[in-house]
C-alpha cells in the first residue's frame, strides 16, 4: 500500500507519496491562497491520474492541518516531528536542521541532546516576512534573491518582527538606497531572527540541513546562513517535502483512494463557526446614502481646468505612495497626482513637473513645499522652497475643509497620524511607531495573500453578511486568525470586511489607545488613502458611533496641505524650484556608504543630483554632512556618557586582581559606585565597552527569551566582551531593591533589571569557567550593605576586614553622590543657559540605561539638532517633593519618571519645558508608567510625547514625531 503525506502549511500545500519500498513516487508543492480544500482536491486528482484506482493511507501534517485531520478522521503528525522522521530516514548524518516555512521557523538539533525549537507567537523572519518585504520593494521574492546576490553592502534591518523591518526598509527605499543592499539586509534579518529567536543559546554547527520553501528557493539566504553560522549547509533533494515525507512515513491511516478522500474533503460542512460582527452595509440603499453623504461633505474645493498665474506646489512623498498637487490662492486644486512610489519617488515627481511645464508653460509656481517621509530627498532633488512636517501639512488641509476640526485621523499605507486639535493647535499627537497593524499596507498584504488587488479587495467586503470579527491584533498574528476563520468557513467577503474592521480597531485601540471612541472629538476628519476604502470608512463610523468627514481628496491631503502651507508662507520662498530646462538635464545617482564618523557607524545613502545637489540620508548626526557650523548644544545625555567614561579607563596593575563590570542596565547608574568600591578594595576594575550593534550580535546566541527588552539582550554581549579580557572575576549582582530615594511606596528594580544576572548565569556557558559574582545585595541600607558585601566577597576571595569593606563602601557611596551632584549641577547650568538663550528644554525621560547610544539611537542628538536643551529624568527628579500618583509607585527608576513629569508639568511657561518619554519595546513596566506620566503632563496642559525604541535603528518616524512636537510647541508659544 502506498502512503500519502499531506503537509498543510500556512501558505503552501505539499504532498509526498511513498510506495511500498519507501521510495518517493510523487510529490507536489503549491501555494494554496487559503483555499486549502480546493488545492488539495487538485493534488489528489493528479495523484489519481498518475496511479489510477490505487488506494493510499493518508496522513496530515502542518500547522493548518490539525483541525482538518480531526474533521476527516485521518491521523495527524505534528510537522516538526514529521520532519525529524524524514531527516532520520534520508539524511541520518545531520546534526542540525533549519527549516523556514510560510509563517513558521524551526530549528532541530539532532545531536547531543535532541531538541526542537519553533517560533512561538512571533512569526518574524519567515517566508511570509520575505514575501512582505518583496512586495514592499515591488519585486518578486525570487528577484529579492537575485538582487541580494549583487549587494555591495548590507543594511541593518530589524529582525524581530516584520512590522519593524518594514519601518526600517521603507525609509531606506524612500531615501533611495539600492535594492540590492536592502535585499541582502532582509536575508540577514531572517538569519538573525532565526538564530536569535530559536537557537536560544545553542550553537548551530556540524552538518546543517536547510529545508522548506525559502531556503530551497533562495540561494542567497542559504549563503547568509552559511556565513553567519560559519558552516557549509546542505539543501538536499526534495527539501520541500520533508514534512510530507515524514507524515507519509508515519502513515497508519485507513486505506482509501485519493478521490474518495477528496470526496470526503468536499463534503465537509463549511458552516460559520467564527465570531462575526455586524455587516457594514445591510443594503444597496444604505450604501448609496452613505456615498451621497460623503459626497456632500467635501463641497467647497473646485478642481481647476485652465489655470493661469500664480500657483503653489505641494508634494507629499509618503511611505508607499507619492502625492502632488498644485493650488491657487483660493485653494482650488489643479493636477492632483497620486501614485505608488515603487520605492523611489524621485522619477515620479520629475515626470509630474515635466508634465506641468510642458502642458502649462504659463503658470508660475511661486512657492513650493514638500512633506512626508521623503520630504528631504524631494526638497533637495528639485529645489523645493520649504519642508513642512507632515502633521502640520495635514492639519492645514483639514482646516480648509472644516475650520473647527478637532480630530484628524490619517491612515496611509504604513503610517497612522492622528491628532487632536485644541484651541487651534495640535494637541495630542499619535503616530504609529512600532506597529503598522492599523494601516493600509495591512489590508494590502492580506489582499495579496488572498490573491486580490487592493481595490477589488476593498469592494469585496461591503455587503458581507457575517464579517469575521478578528479583533485588534498585530499583522503577524492576524495571519493565523485569518487562517482559522477560513478554516471555520468564512468567505473571502467576510474576511475582507473583517479585516477592514480590524484596521479600524487596531488604529483606535492599539495606536491611539482610546478607551472611549466617543471622546475623540466632535468634528472628525479622516483622510489618507486607506479611507478611500468604503469598508474602512464605514467600519470607522460604526466603531466610534459618529459620522465623520472624508474629503474627496482624502489621499491627497498631505500634498494639498503642503501646497496651502507654501501659499501661506510664500514670503519665505526663494524660488529655487527646478526649471524646465534644469529638469531636462536631471540626473540622480545613489551610493551606499558607511559613516565612520563615530561609533554609530550609520549606513548612509548618498544621493547626488544634477547640478551637484547632494542629499545624504540615514545619518543620525551632522558629522557626515561636514557642516562647519557646529552650533552649540547642551545635551545632558552626552554629558552623562562623558561622566561615566571617567570610570572606563580600564587601567591594569598586574599585581592586583581584576574584576570586570558589564556596562549595561543598572550599571549605567551604579558604575561610579561599584567602580569606587572595588578600586578602593584594591582591585583593577575593567568595564565592558559602550554597546554597539556588534555587542548585540556577539551575545545573541545565548539570549533565552526573544521578547525581553533590548537593553537586557545587550547584556549578553557585554558579558562576552568581559570574558575576552579574562578578568579574575565578573561582578554583576542581583538587586531586587534599588537605591531608596524615598519617593514611592517601595524601591524595587523591575524584574529584568533585578534578576538578569541569573539569566546570564543560567545561559552563558562560558561563565561557568570564571568567577561570576551574582549574589544578591542592595545599596539601600549602608550598614547592612557592608556586612553583606563582606559575606559575598568572602566566598570568592580571601576575606576582607570589616575596616577594608567600610572604607570601600564609604568611597562607593561618595562616588555615587558625587556623580549625581555633578550631573545635577550640569543640569542646573543647562537650564540657566536655556533660559538665557531662550531655548526650549526637553526632559528626555527614560531609565539610566537609555544613555546607552545603542539603545537610544541618538535621539538626544536629534532633539539638540532641533535647537532644544536635553535633560535627563534623573537630573530633575530630585527637585520635586514626593507626591502620590495613581499607580503603585514602587520602582526607583519609575518614580523618577513621575517626579520628572511633575517637575515639567509645574515649570513656568517661560521655561519652555516639555517631556519626551523613551520606552524600550517589551518593557512591561512602562505599560503602567506611560499612561501615568501622560496624565501628569496633561493635567497642566502640556503635550506628552512617547518614543518607543527597540533594536531598530531608523529614526525617520522619531524625527517626525519630534518635529511635530516642536511645531506644536512653537504654535502654542506664538499664540
Amino acid at each position: 500500500m502506498k502512503r500519502l503525506g499531506l503537509d498543510v502549511g500556512s501558505t503552501t500545500l505539499k504532498c509526498a507519496l511513498l510506495d511500498e519500498q519507501d521510495q518517493l513516487v510523487f510529490s507536489c508543492y503549491q501555494r494554496h491562497y487559503s483555499k486549502i480544500a480546493g488545492t488539495m482536491t487538485e493534488m489528489l486528482t493528479a495523484i489519481d491520474k498518475e496511479f489510477p484506482g490505487e488506494t493510499v493511507a493518508v496522513t496530515l501534517s502542518g500547522s493548518a492541518g490539525m483541525g482538518l485531520a480531526d474533521a476527516l478522521d485521518v491521523p495527524f503528525v505534528q510537522e516538526v516531528y514529521a520532519e525529524r522522521l524524514a531527516v532520520k530516514a534520508l539524511q541520518p548524518r545531520t546534526d542540525a536542521v533549519i527549516e523556514l516555512g510560510g509563517e513558521d521557523a524551526k530549528i532541530l538539533f539532532l545531536r547531543g541532546g535532541f531538541e526542537m525549537r519553533m517560533n512561538g507567537t512571533c512569526a518574524g523572519g519567515t517566508g511570509a516576512f520575505i514575501d512582505q518585504m518583496a512586495s514592499l520593494m515591488r519585486v518578486t521574492p525570487d528577484e529579492v534573491n537575485d538582487l541580494a546576490a549583487r549587494h555591495e553592502k548590507v543594511y541593518t534591518i530589524a529582525s524581530r518582527c516584520g512590522v519593524f523591518a518594514k519601518s526600517d526598509i521603507q525609509p531606506l527605499l524612500n531615501q533611495g538606497a539600492r535594492k540590492e543592499d536592502i535585499s541582502a539586509g532582509i536575508f540577514y534579518a531572517v538569519v538573525n531572527q532565526t538564530i536569535g529567536g530559536l537557537a536560544q543559546g545553542r550553537q548551530i554547527g556540524g552538518n546543517v540541513l536547510y529545508l522548506g520553501g525559502p531556503l530551497t528557493f533562495f540561494s542567497e539566504l542559504r549563503r547568509s546562513f552559511d556565513e553567519v553560522l560559519g558552516v557549509k549547509g546542505v539543501c538536499p533533494e526534495n527539501s520541500l517535502y520533508y514534512v510530507a515525507i515524514g507524515a507519509a512515513c508515519a502513515g497508519v491511516g485507513r486505506e482509501e483512494t485519493p478521490l474518495s478522500f477528496a470526496a470526503r474533503l468536499g463534503a465537509l460542512p463549511l458552516v460559520g463557526q467564527y465570531q462575526s460582527a455586524r455587516p457594514l452595509f445591510r443594503s444597496g440603499e444604505e450604501y448609496k446614502a452613505f456615498l451621497e453623504r460623503h459626497e456632500r461633505a467635501s463641497l467647497g474645493t473646485r478642481e481647476l481646468t485652465a489655470p493661469r498665474g500664480k500657483m503653489y506646489l505641494g508634494v507629499d512623498a509618503g511611505s508607499t505612495t507619492v502625492k502632488a498637487v498644485l493650488c491657487d490662492e483660493a485653494g482650488n486644486i489643479f493636477r492632483p497626482y497620486y501614485a505608488g512610489n515603487n520605492g523611489n519617488p524621485v522619477p515620479l515627481i520629475k515626470s509630474y513637473l515635466e508634465g506641468i511645464y510642458r502642458d502649462f508653460p504659463d503658470i508660475e509656481i511661486v512657492s513650493s513645499a514638500a512633506t512626508g517621509y521623503g520630504e528631504e530627498i524631494i526638497k533637495n532633488a528639485f529645489g523645493l522652497d520649504m519642508g513642512v512636517v507632515e502633521t502640520i501639512a495635514h492639519y492645514t488641509a483639514a482646516k480648509y475643509f472644516k475650520e473647527d476640526v478637532d480630530f484628524i485621523l490619517d491612515i496611509g499605507g504604513q503610517d497612522i497620524k492622528c491628532f487632536q486639535i485644541r484651541g487651534g493647535a495640535i494637541d495630542n499627537l499619535y503616530l504609529n511607531e512600532a506597529c503598522s497593524s492599523g494601516c493600509g499596507s495591512f489590508l494590502q498584504t492580506f489582499a495579496g495573500a488572498l490573491g486580490y488587488d487592493a481595490a477589488s479587495f476593498a469592494r469585496l467586503g461591503r455587503f458581507a453578511a457575517h464579517p469575521v470579527d478578528l479583533g485588534s491584533r498585530c499583522t503577524v498574528f492576524m495571519n493565523s486568525a485569518v487562517k482559522q476563520a477560513q478554516k471555520d468557513g468564512a468567505s473571502v467577503e467576510d474576511i475582507a470586511a473583517g479585516l477592514s474592521i480590524s484596521v479600524v480597531k487596531n488604529a483606535l485601540y492599539k495606536v491611539i489607545r482610546c478607551a472611549d471612541p466617543e471622546s475623540l472629538g466632535k468634528n472628525i476628519i479622516v483622510q489618507g488613502g486607506t479611507f478611500l476604502n468604503d469598508c474602512v470608512l464605514r467600519a470607522f463610523e460604526q466603531e466610534i458611533g459618529r459620522d465623520v468627514i472624508r474629503p474627496k481628496y482624502a489621499p491627497l491631503m498631505g500634498a494639498y496641505g503642503a501646497a496651502l502651507y507654501a501659499a501661506a508662507h510664500a514670503g519665505n520662498a526663494k524660488g529655487k524650484l527646478v526649471t524646465a530646462r534644469e529638469l531636462a538635464a536631471f540626473t540622480h545617482h545613489v551610493k551606499a556608504v558607511t559613516c565612520n564618523g563615530c561609533g554609530n557607524h550609520c549606513s548612509l545613502t548618498v544621493n547626488t543630483f544634477s547640478g551637484g545637489r547632494r542629499f545624504i540620508a540615514g545619518n543620525r548626526c551632522d558629522r557626515p554632512l561636514h557642516l562647519a557650523d557646529e552650533s552649540k548644544h547642551y545635551d545632558l545625555y552626552e554629558y552623562k556618557l562623558e561622566l561615566l567614561g571617567r570610570y572606563c579607563k580600564n587601567r591594569i596593575d598586574p599585581k592586583k586582581k581584576t574584576v570586570g563590570l558589564p556596562l549595561g542596565l543598572n550599571f549605567y547608574e551604579l558604575l561610579p559606585f561599584w567602580h569606587a568600591f572595588f578600586d578602593t578594595l584594591g582591585f583593577n576594575v575593567i568595564v565592558s565597552p559602550t554597546s554597539d550593534r556588534q555587542t548585540y550580535l556577539d551575545g545573541q546566541y545565548t539570549i533565552p527569551s526573544d521578547t525581553a527588552c533590548y537593553p537586557a539582550k545587550l547584556m549578553h554581549g557585554h558579558i562576552e566582551a568581559l570574558l575576552r579580557e579574562k578578568p579574575d572575576a565578573i561582578f554583576y549582582p542581583g538587586m531586587t531593591y534599588n537605591v531608596d530615594e524615598k519617593k514611592g511606596q517601595n524601591h524595587f528594580n523591575c524584574p529584568v533589571v533585578a534578576y538578569y544576572p541569573q539569566v546570564l548565569k543560567g545561559n552563558v556557558r562560558a561563565l561557568e569557567d570564571t568567577i561570576f559574582i551574582c549574589d544578591f545585595v542592595s545599596p539601600a541600607r549602608r550598614s547592612f550593605f557592608e556586612k553583606r558585601m563582606r559575606e559575598i566577597l568572602g566566598q570568592y576571595f580571601p576575606p576582607f576586614t570589616k575596616r577594608e569593606i567600610r572604607r570601600a563602601a564609604r568611597a562607593a557611596y561618595a562616588a555615587y553622590a558625587a556623580y549625581f551632584a555633578d550631573l545635577r549641577k550640569k543640569a542646573a547650568e543647562y537650564r540657566a543657559l536655556a533660559q538665557k538663550e531662550g531655548r526650549p528644554v526637553i526632559v528626555l525621560a527614560g531609565r539610566p540605561y537609555h544613555a546607552d547610544p545603542e539603545i537610544n539611537h541618538g535621539i538626544h542628538t536629534l532633539i539638540c539638532k532641533l535647537g532644544a536643551v536635553v535633560l535627563t529624568e534623573d537630573s530633575v527628579s530630585h527637585l520635586v517633593r514626593p507626591f502620590r500618583v495613581n499607580v503603585r509607585d514602587q520602582w526607583t527608576y519609575h518614580a523618577r519618571l513621575y517626579a520628572a513629569a511633575k517637575y515639567v508639568a509645574n515649570a513656568p511657561k517661560e521655561a519652555k519645558m516639555s517631556l519626551v518619554q523613551l520606552v524600550s519595546f517589551g518593557c512591561g513596566v512602562d505599560a503602567v508608567t506611560t499612561d501615568e506620566v501622560r496624565s501628569i503632563i496633561e493635567r497642566t496642559g502640556g503635550i506628552y510625547t512617547q518614543i518607543k525604541i527597540d533594536e531598530i535603528s531608523n529614526i525617520g518616524a522619531v524625527n517626525i514625531r519630534l518635529r511635530s512636537l516642536f511645531a506644536a510647541l512653537k504654535d502654542r508659544n506664538t499664540r
Binding site: G113, G120, A515, F776, R788, V887, G924, T930
Partner: protein, 420 residues
C-alpha cells in the same frame, strides 16, 4: 479611593475574578459566612477580553486583561447594578507589575465614569484599609484550610480522572466534595485539625474507590504564571485540551505559592537585612502553611498509587540548583522549583504557561530552561505563550509537538527496557 463601608457590606455585591476555579469556590464561603456578598465571575470569551483591552493598557500583561476584563465586563453587561457593586483584586505588593492591578482597575473605572465603584485590595500586608471590609486572623486561617482542601481535590482529581473506567465518576466525587466543603466552610466547620483529617482521609478514600484501570498515558506537568497556569479562561482550556490528548497532567498546588511568598521574607532578611520581625512573621506564616501541607501528605501516605506533592522544603532544595532563591518577583524560584519537582516525579513533559511578554518569566521560565535541561536531560520543556493576540491553533500545535516527543521518549524507554 472609595471606601468600602459597613453599609456597603450589607448591600453591595463584591465581584471577584475567577483565578483558581476550584479554590475560589471554597474561599468564597469564608466571606459569605461573614455576611459579605461575594461573587466569583465566570464570564469568558471575546467580549470579556475586548472589555479588558478597551480599558486596560494593551501592553499590560494578559492576566490583567482577563481578570480586570471580567470585572469591568460584569459592570457593563447589565447583569449587575454598578451602583451596588464593589470589585476585589489580590495585591501582593511584589516587584512585578501585577501589583498595579488595583490601581489599573480604579483608573479604568474612572475612564468609564464609574469611579464610585469601590475597589478592595486584598493583601497580606494590609496596604489599604476599609471601614466595612476586614480580613481577620480566623478568616486567614480558614483560607489556608480552604487552599489545602482545594489543592488536595485537584491533586486527586488529576490523578484519577484519566484512569477512571466509568466516565464522569471523578467529576461526581469532586462535585460532592466541593459541595460538602463549601457547606462546612460556610458553617465555619471542618477547620479543626481533627475535622480536617477526617475530611482529607475520607476524600482520599473516595477517590481511591473510583474504579480505575491502568492506561499508558503521557505525564505532563503544568507550571507557569499563576493565573494562566490555573485559569482555563487564561490558558484557552489547556487542561481540557490535554484531556483529549492521552495525557495525565499534574498542576502544583496553590498553597505552594503562598509558602513561597512567606519564605521570601526570610530571604529578604538574609540578603537585605530587613527587620527580624519581618523574618519572624514570614517564618510563622510558613510554618502554619507547612503544618497543613503535612496533613495532605499524611492523608495520602496510605495510598502509594497517588503521587503526593513535594513539601515546600523539597521544592526549595530543587529550586536552588536552578536559580538563586533571591529571585522573588512573579513566581520567582518557585517556577523552576516546581518544574524540577515534577520532572523528578516522572512528569518529564513540562508546559510552562506564561503570558506573552511577562517580565519575571523572561528570568524564571525561559531563562531557566537551559539549566533544567542540563540537570535533567530527559526533561521535555515547552514554554507556551498566552495573549489576546495569540491563536489557539499555534498553542495547541506547540503542545502537540511536545507530546510527539514525549511519545517517542516513551517508546525509546520501552525499547531500552526490553533490551535490559
Amino acid at each position: 479611593m472609595v471606601d468600602f463601608t459597613q453599609k456597603m457590606k450589607k448591600e453591595y455585591t463584591i465581584l471577584a475574578p475567577d483565578i483558581f476555579p476550584t479554590h475560589m469556590r471554597l474561599l468564597r464561603e469564608i466571606f459569605v459566612a461573614r455576611g459579605y456578598k461575594l461573587e466569583i465571575l465566570r464570564y469568558e470569551g471575546k467580549d470579556v477580553i475586548d472589555t479588558g483591552l478597551k480599558y486596560v493598557h494593551n501592553d499590560m500583561c494578559y492576566p490583567a486583561i482577563c481578570t480586570l476584563g471580567q470585572q469591568l465586563y460584569a459592570l457593563t453587561c447589565g447583569d449587575y447594578d454598578p451602583r451596588k457593586c464593589a470589585l476585589i483584586q489580590f495585591q501582593t505588593g511584589g516587584g512585578c507589575r501585577a501589583s498595579n492591578y488595583v490601581m489599573l482597575l480604579r483608573k479604568a473605572l474612572k475612564n468609564m465614569g464609574m469611579e464610585y465603584v469601590p475597589v478592595i485590595a486584598l493583601s497580606f500586608t494590609g496596604i489599604e484599609h476599609y471601614s466595612g471590609f476586614h480580613i481577620t486572623l480566623p478568616m486567614v486561617l480558614s483560607a489556608v484550610r480552604a487552599l489545602v482542601y482545594g489543592d488536595m481535590l485537584l491533586c486527586l482529581k488529576n490523578q484519577t480522572r484519566p484512569y477512571e473506567i466509568n466516565r464522569g465518576d471523578t467529576e461526581k466525587v469532586v462535585a460532592k466534595w466541593v459541595d460538602r466543603l463549601r457547606w462546612q466552610l460556610y458553617k465555619n466547620r471542618g477547620l479543626s485539625r481533627g475535622a480536617m483529617r477526617k475530611n482529607l482521609d475520607e476524600m482520599v478514600k473516595d477517590f481511591h474507590d473510583i474504579p480505575r484501570e491502568k492506561r499508558d498515558l503521557k505525564k505532563v506537568g503544568i507550571v507557569g504564571e499563576i493565573y494562566v497556569k490555573y485559569s482555563p479562561f487564561g490558558n484557552n482550556g489547556l487542561e481540557k485540551f490535554l484531556e483529549t490528548q492521552d495525557c495525565e497532567y499534574m498542576v502544583p498546588g496553590v498553597l505552594g505559592f503562598f509558602q513561597y511568598c512567606f519564605s521570601n521574607m526570610e530571604t529578604d532578611h538574609r540578603y537585605y537585612g530587613t527587620p527580624k520581625t519581618h523574618q519572624l512573621a514570614g517564618k510563622i506564616a510558613e510554618s502554619v502553611a507547612s503544618d497543613w501541607e503535612k496533613e495532605i501528605l499524611r492523608a495520602l501516605a496510605p495510598y502509594p498509587e497517588f503521587v503526593a506533592p513535594a513539601p515546600i522544603s523539597e521544592v526549595k532544595r530543587l529550586a536552588e540548583r536552578v536559580i538563586d532563591r533571591g529571585v522573588k518577583m512573579g513566581e520567582g524560584w518557585l517556577l523552576p522549583g516546581e518544574a524540577a519537582e515534577m520532572i523528578e516525579k516522572g512528569y518529564t513533559n513540562i508546559i510552562s504557561a506564561q503570558p506573552f511578554g511577562c517580565l519575571p518569566n523572561h528570568i524564571v521560565a525561559k531563562g531557566t530552561i537551559r539549566r533544567l535541561r542540563e540537570l535533567y536531560p530527559k526533561a521535555n520543556i515547552f514554554p507556551v505563550d498566552y495573549d489576546a493576540g495569540a491563536s489557539r491553533v499555534n498553542q495547541e500545535n506547540r503542545i502537540k509537538l511536545m507530546l510527539a516527543i514525549a511519545d517517542e521518549e516513551a517508546k525509546t524507554a520501552e525499547r531500552e527496557a526490553v533490551k535490559v
